[in-house]
Subunit: 211 residues, 4 copies
DNA sequence: TATGAATGAGGTTTCATTCAT
DNA sequence: GATGAATGAAACCTCATTCAT
């Protein structure tokens, strides 16, 4: 109240929040332009920092990318595992919930940008590819695989290859995200929830032990 | 002896084959390094041409990419359509054959490189994204959609959203390709044929009208 | 106990010793990396100060260099003059003592670093070159020149060009220092004292009036 | 004749001479500004080339330096050795001729720039220091050492440490060069030839076996 | 007095593209 | 048709220096 003349120091002394601000800016910039075409200066500008300022917090452009991946990756993996593990005694229901969670994730263009970037730089930064694979993909896959195996063991699901089943869960959602977000493909008339339902209807019918 | 006047022309007129040789080289180079990191000089070297020589056949680096996409794209789309259309009266069998064809395609790392590159430059070259979407993705999707719809009409398949079903066909195969080729993920123990079978088993069970 | 109000001042008022600490640090850093490659931050770190702290005491990087030269230079010149002047009545003995003193000086890599730095920045900072020349070189030379001239006047030395003689005293010692310290040349088997002796033996035999 | 309008193609097609032109330009630029302060762009400009053009012939700024050292070094070493070796049967005369040759060398500011540069970057590029030491200094020294030893063996010179004697030959000349060229010290009234004479007079008197 | 945070200016290097031959 | 030579434009990164606290 009354101190309206000093609303915001505008900058200074926010070292703690800087790395995150830079990563936020980088995510947006990399998503828009791709890693190579993105200029560090643009990241800096969006983070309201000078170019040199960025280098106070990250050693190099690819260190920013690494930081970004590391920050973005953990929650995704954690999220998927949690949903999967929470439903081990109701595999069919859990499958639907995982599909819904993954759909929500993929619907967020910013979140989907990360695997796209990883994919495009994987050849040059194998460590990034490896990190992503081990910390997201294998985590997610193994969680679903466990879920499917549990379902099979319970007799809820027919015997099947759980890796294939897992890909049948994630694959369609992921490609739909790429198609609509990055290639501007027509998302179709269904709402996300309807898509999840249509998808899991078919998938579960394919998986469930008859009667 | 005596043919001293015609020792060996310094260069040969092979203008006709040149563009293709350049595109071959570009495909390999782009696949390895990504579009941005790939240097025109490397493409030239691999095509056994000077850097300037490349510019006799292509106006710019992204023109090469456009040429590449145009060349690679048509056969893929045509192929998938053909398989799908040839099986309109046996939708289930056709589905399996499409899955097999698409698996074969995706197994070829070079072929899979094209969509990966498209994805990574889509933001900067919207025309490329559009071209790819219209000429490959929508072609492929619509062919499968038609197939599914035919199946539903015939009563072979249950009523379902054909777009979703199509993504359930392509998605798992595509992500498996990305995962194994570009992120060096474990391809798992199944042979391609076994993967196709496991995949279509589940998918068809999910789609087929009971009884 | 009980002195909680004075636990430890975060920083101490040691303004007086600071400039010297900075110069010490600068000497080491400049010696190791050269003036250009040395970073102010490294000087600061070695002086246990923040980068900004250095600027409390010196206006700029080259001001540090100037300060360094000023501090290092006076004692050297004074020392050489003193030795020379103390021996005006025994020119031959004084020559030997000057050689010994200069050898001791040059043996100290840190001390030798100063002229090396001066030499490398002389073109950009003519004032530094001038300062060094006037306050060290000309001082040292003139002292020796006076010594030689005294010797000649006394009849102890043959008539000779005293500037040349002076260079014959300093030159060999100086280049030996450069060679061994900065180019890692083999210092040879002789001890410093033996080098001084061998050197002055020849030099004196060359200078002394026969009989 | 009559084609006065096309005097000089101005550039193009002189790849062969380029490296040398660049090294010439670099020598001048490095001599003037020192290695660090010299900008590649200035070297380029002086060589009448674009900045990028320089990189067609040299991989990096320090590659230019290396090239420069390599080019400048061989003739110097060869020259000194030749003079020394040509006079093995007249050591005293040869010593004078070596002194004269070295004086001529050092009188050339451009030539003297090389060791100055080497000295200033030695810490950062140890290979350059080593190269210079092995290919110039040790060559020169060993040639003179051999000469002195020959003189001693012949009974022309008194027994003495030849390394010291060699430094007494080179040292004074070298420091005089540094002093006058780079610190703008007063070269004194003597002509180069007179300096050589004054120098070798003393040195030879110091070295020669009496009668 | 002391410093963490910030930046402007500039340097090296790269590369798509052009052009004379 | 083919290329060696050349360059403009830009990108990454560094560092001396400043300033609010």
């Amino acid at each position: 109240m009354g101190q309206s003349a000093r609303e915001e120091p505008k900058w200074r002394r926010r070292a703690e929040s800087r790395p995150d601000e830079i990563l936020d800016a980088a995510l947006v910039t990399f998503e828009k332009d791709g890693f190579d075409a993105a200029r560090v200066e643009d990241v800096a500008k969006k983070a309201k920092l000078s170019k040199a300022g960025v280098y106070l917090y990250f050693d190099s452009k690819d260190a920013i990318l690494r930081g970004l991946i590391e920050r973005e990756v953990a929650p995704v993996a954690r999220n998927l595992r949690a949903v999967a593990e929470a439903g081990m005694d109701d595999p069919a229901g859990a499958l639907q919930r995982v599909a819904a969670a993954f759909t929500a994730l993929v619907n967020d263009k910013r979140k989907l940008a990360v695997p796209r970037i990883v994919l495009s730089v994987a050849a040059r930064y194998p460590d990034i590819a490896q990190y992503y694979r081990e910390n997201v993909l294998e985590q997610g896959l193994s969680a679903i695989v466990a879920l499917i195996e549990a379902g099979v063991a319970k007799g809820v699901f027919r015997p099947c290859d759980p890796g294939i089943a897992a890909r049948m869960l994630f694959g369609p959602i992921f490609v739909h995200g790429l198609y609509t977000h990055f290639l501007h493909g027509d998302p179709g008339p269904l709402s996300p929830a309807e898509r999840v339902k249509a998808h899991t209807d078919i998938l579960l019918k394919g998986l469930l032990a008859s009667r």
